[in-house]
């Protein structure tokens, strides 16, 4: 039967079912995008969908207001919010730019939403917000904060003390002011529900006995990531009372491990037969890694990217036994040889990230990874689909080989440390190499390009990268044509971020409607002018066009500004709630 008719019939048939049944059917569809599609089918489906929606993902907290969110989804239980644009990670966005959590908590609290989970990325969180959160939602279970800032351990104390059903407290790479208080003590003795606790990013001391007691009374604890202040013997004790751990984050400074404490550690580790994921290891002596040999065959996830003390040979010795590894984050000190070992040992590898141990190339170090390592990985790991690779040199030939070996890439991010660096053998641009990647990897959703690149690479991207959703460009391209190829070609593009590239008003203004299909556009140190941005803002009232000024001393004087003045940082995004009211002086919203 014709599919369209089938759908029509089934919709109308379905409407004979009571709402609860339809709701139940919708429960089997967790994907946000599918749920969004469902809500567009008909008015009744829209109504049913919204009242049964429990999980909402908001990629840009300024695209919608908390009040509208709650009106539409009153049964909200799990909320994910993202604040600052991605380049805020690299200090290109002033701290006070925005992304404040408080209005959201305030609104959710007032509306008595039954919030259970909150996941935040690049938001500004205050202790007051955390306290309000902890008091407002009785069933609150899970708090995940990634790259957030603005709060202190006092805020954590309120969460610990008031969230009686807390299962997950996961702090990833946040800037937290550590008051060295007793926040761990604030978990009441009756609190036994913890499943996941990650405080690796805390800089201060840790109350070890409070931690040990907490772990001892949390039989469901599966994931524990401690910070640097937890020394080896404490770690041993923790592991001994939590042999059920699946995910462990180690972080201790140990000058030399005494033989006895090392033995004890190994014994404790041996008992952790469920351990699958290992991370941390900042400032550890190599010997600490060897203690994990007994379980390394079980590991599916290994993050040694903070272990700058470990040298290539230590890493290789360990990784070669991790036959079941699916995720590996490592430093480039592993070298090409190390990656060859990974390629031959880790056949299940799906995601690889290689970070630079010497980002500014200060040491005269020739042991870091090159294109050779990348090719080896692509040849040896058939399941590889995500890669982030920092290196000092690359060639088109290598990229072409990688593309041939690995057509399954979903995420491909290559960062050659020196901007505009050409193919180090042929001295040509890397257009052909990246072109091969986009042509071969039909499912590519995320791409970051680097090295010497002309407009041609963007022609390729526009032509071939049909599934591309996020593109990061730095120091690339020659003319506006480059950006236009991308805007015109990549139909599924959602996020475009560009820095230090010669794209200007012509590219920016060519197709204003395109930005309605995208979440956001970032352009910094490009050729767009104030006049161009103003024109854009005039033609697209449903966009917030933000200019972030260098000089934070005040808003631009309207009469004095020169329309030909180049804009230092432009960030635009679609929104249904208009201009935001919380922008700081350094941000001008046109």
């Amino acid at each position: 039967m014709d599919r369209a008719i089938k759908l029509q019939l089934s919709t109308s048939e379905m409407n004979y079912f009571p709402d609860e049944v339809i709701e139940h059917i919708f429960d089997f569809i967790p994907s946000h995008r599918d749920r969004n599609s469902i809500s567009l089918v008909s008015k009744s489906w829209h109504k049913i969908e919204r009242s049964s929606r429990h999980q909402v993902f908001i990629g840009n907290c300024y695209a919608i207001s908390p009040e509208r969110l709650i009106r539409r989804f009153p049964c909200l239980r799990s909320l994910t919010l993202k604040g600052k644009p991605h380049f805020a990670d690299f200090n290109l966005v002033p701290h006070e730019w925005g992304g404040f959590l408080h209005p959201w908590i305030d609104a959710l609290s007032k509306a008595r939403v039954g919030l259970e989970e909150l996941r935040l990325k690049r938001m500004v969180v205050s202790d007051e917000s955390l306290e309000l959160l902890s008091r407002s939602f009785v069933g609150f279970k899970s708090l995940v904060l990634v790259s957030c800032d603005g709060f202190t351990t006092d805020g954590l104390a309120s969460i610990a003390a008031n969230c009686r059903n807390l299962r997950e407290l996961d702090l990833q790479e946040n800037e937290i002011d550590d008051h060295r208080g007793q926040w761990l003590n604030c978990f009441p003795d009756s609190s036994t529900t913890l499943v996941s606790l990650n405080f690796a990013c805390l800089k201060g001391e840790t109350n070890l006995s409070a931690l040990e007691r907490l772990v001892a009374r949390s039989p469901n604890l599966k994931s524990l990531k401690v910070n640097r202040a937890v020394p080896l013997d404490a770690l041993t004790r923790l592991m001994s009372c939590a042999p059920q751990l699946v995910d462990l984050g180690v972080g201790c400074y140990e000058n030399e491990a005494e033989p006895e404490s090392f033995e004890k550690l190994m014994a404790a580790i041996k008992k952790c037969t469920l351990l699958r994921s290992l991370s941390g290891f900042s400032e550890v002596a190599p010997i600490c890694l060897t203690a994990f040999y007994p379980i390394c065959e079980n590991l599916t996830s290994l993050n040694l990217s903070y272990a700058a003390e470990l040298q290539g040979n230590h890493l290789i010795e360990f990784v070669q036994f991790c036959k079941r590894l699916q995720l590996l984050w490592i430093l480039d000190s592993i070298g090409d040889r190390g990656l060859e070992v990974v390629a031959s040992s880790c056949k299940e590898l799906q995601e690889l990230r290689v970070f630079p141990s010497d980002p500014h190339d200060e040491e005269d170090n020739n042991t870091a990874v090159t294109e050779v390592g990348l090719v080896a990985i692509s040849a040896g790991c058939p399941k590889l689909h995500s890669i982030l690779y920092f290196c000092k040199q690359m060639t088109n030939a290598a990229l072409i080989t990688v593309a041939k070996n690995c057509p399954n890439f979903i995420r491909f991010r290559l960062c050659i440390l020196e901007p505009n660096k050409s193919d180090h053998i042929t001295s040509q641009s890397l257009d052909e190499g990246f072109g091969a990647i986009v042509q071969a990897c039909k499912g590519l959703r995320r791409l970051s390009v680097s090295g010497l690149l002309t407009d041609k690479v963007f022609l390729y991207i526009g032509m071939y990268a049909e599934q591309l959703e996020m593109l990061s460009i730095a120091f690339a391209g020659d003319t506006d044509k480059g950006m236009l190829y991308v805007l015109n070609g990549c139909k599924k593009l959602r996020k475009l971020e560009i820095r230090d590239s010669p794209f200007g008003n012509a590219a920016l203004l060519a197709d204003v409607g395109k930005y309605e299909t995208m979440r956001s556009l970032w352009m910094s140190s490009c050729e767009v002018t104030l006049g161009g941005c103003k024109r854009l803002a005039r033609n697209a009232p449903w966009l917030n066009v933000e200019i972030i000024n260098e000089n934070e001393n005040g808003r631009m004087e309207r009469n004095e500004e020169d329309e030909r003045e180049k804009v230092d940082r432009l960030y635009l995004y679609r929104t249904v709630v208009g201009t935001r009211k919380d922008a700081p002086p350094c941000v001008t919203i046109l």
Partner: protein, 271 residues
């Protein structure tokens, strides 16, 4: 919020806390030792964006501060960028225009936020205390200018004469679990260094060191021959040497880390 603090502090139970008292731990040593920016380093929003870094030579990260003296940077770095690898005129003008956010005095350092690594990650690399020779003040400036949270000193350009940026090395002591970090550039002699080490390791509350260490307090003068302890350092070649034998500046040039050893451990060579 103060309510919570009260609750926490009056919890009463005896808690063993292993750590170090103020000036806190390694990272705060940066703040203490470095020529501070006027940004308060204890503010919660200690992202690098809040770090004062006025650079002519080296990485300019404090772009968003009004104190950013970008004009000097503009001309200097544009000429540098122009001489870097093949760039078409279009690109050159593009990057030249962005030179106010760029400064490059050595290979690899080009612009704010490049390479694209989270502050958190960059800090973790810096805190591995790679020390650099200060004869080549330029490169030491550059390396330390991959800013830490607490503010790395500004390196003014050669008109003014450069201020040394912090040279961080790890210091460990036998019997003490958690090491410290100090800025060797804050000292001008072995005496000054020894005094500070004494302060750090011997005049601290007892909870911080093991009982063994507490008993043997006979280290009033670390450099004294009669002292219970000796200071040693690991040099570039990985060898452990006694501190004090070579001229101070030469010492700065080759020291990688420090260790305060019990004198009896000298022959044993540690574990």
């Amino acid at each position: 919020m103060s309510g919570f603090r009260d609750v926490c502090s009056s919890s009463g139970s005896v808690n063993v806390m292993i750590g170090v008292s103020s000036p806190a731990e390694g990272e705060d040593d940066n703040a203490a030792a470095a020529a501070l920016s006027s940004e308060d380093s204890s503010s919660p929003d200690e992202t690098v964006a809040g770090t004062e870094l006025d650079l002519a030579l080296g990485l300019s990260i404090g772009l968003n501060r009004s104190r950013n003296h970008s004009s000097k940077v503009r001309s200097f770095s544009s000429s540098l960028l122009a001489s870097s690898s093949s760039s078409s005129p279009a690109r050159e003008s593009g990057t030249k225009r962005s030179a106010d956010s760029s400064a490059a005095a050595s290979k690899g350092q080009v612009a704010v936020g490049w390479p694209p690594l989270r502050t958190y990650r960059i800090n973790s690399l810096v805190n591995q205390a790679k020390s650099l020779p200060t004869e080549d003040g330029l490169s030491s400036n550059i390396q330390k200018d991959t800013a830490t949270k607490n503010g790395v000193v500004a390196a003014k350009n050669d008109e003014v004469g450069f201020i040394k940026s912090p040279m961080l090395v790890k210091v460990t002591m036998d019997g003490v679990i958690i090491g410290r970090k100090i800025d060797l550039n804050a000292f001008d002699s072995y005496e000054a260094l020894a005094k500070t080490l004494e302060q750090m390791f011997f005049h601290t509350p007892s909870s911080l060191t093991t009982t063994r260490c507490k008993e043997t307090r006979g280290a009033s003068e670390l450099l004294d021959v009669s002292s219970e302890y000796i200071i040693t350092y690991q040099d570039k070649d990985g060898d452990w040497m006694l501190v004090g034998d070579v001229p101070w500046l030469m010492f700065l040039g080759c020291v990688k880390r420090l260790r305060i050893m019990r004198r009896s451990g000298e022959t044993g060579g540690g574990k």
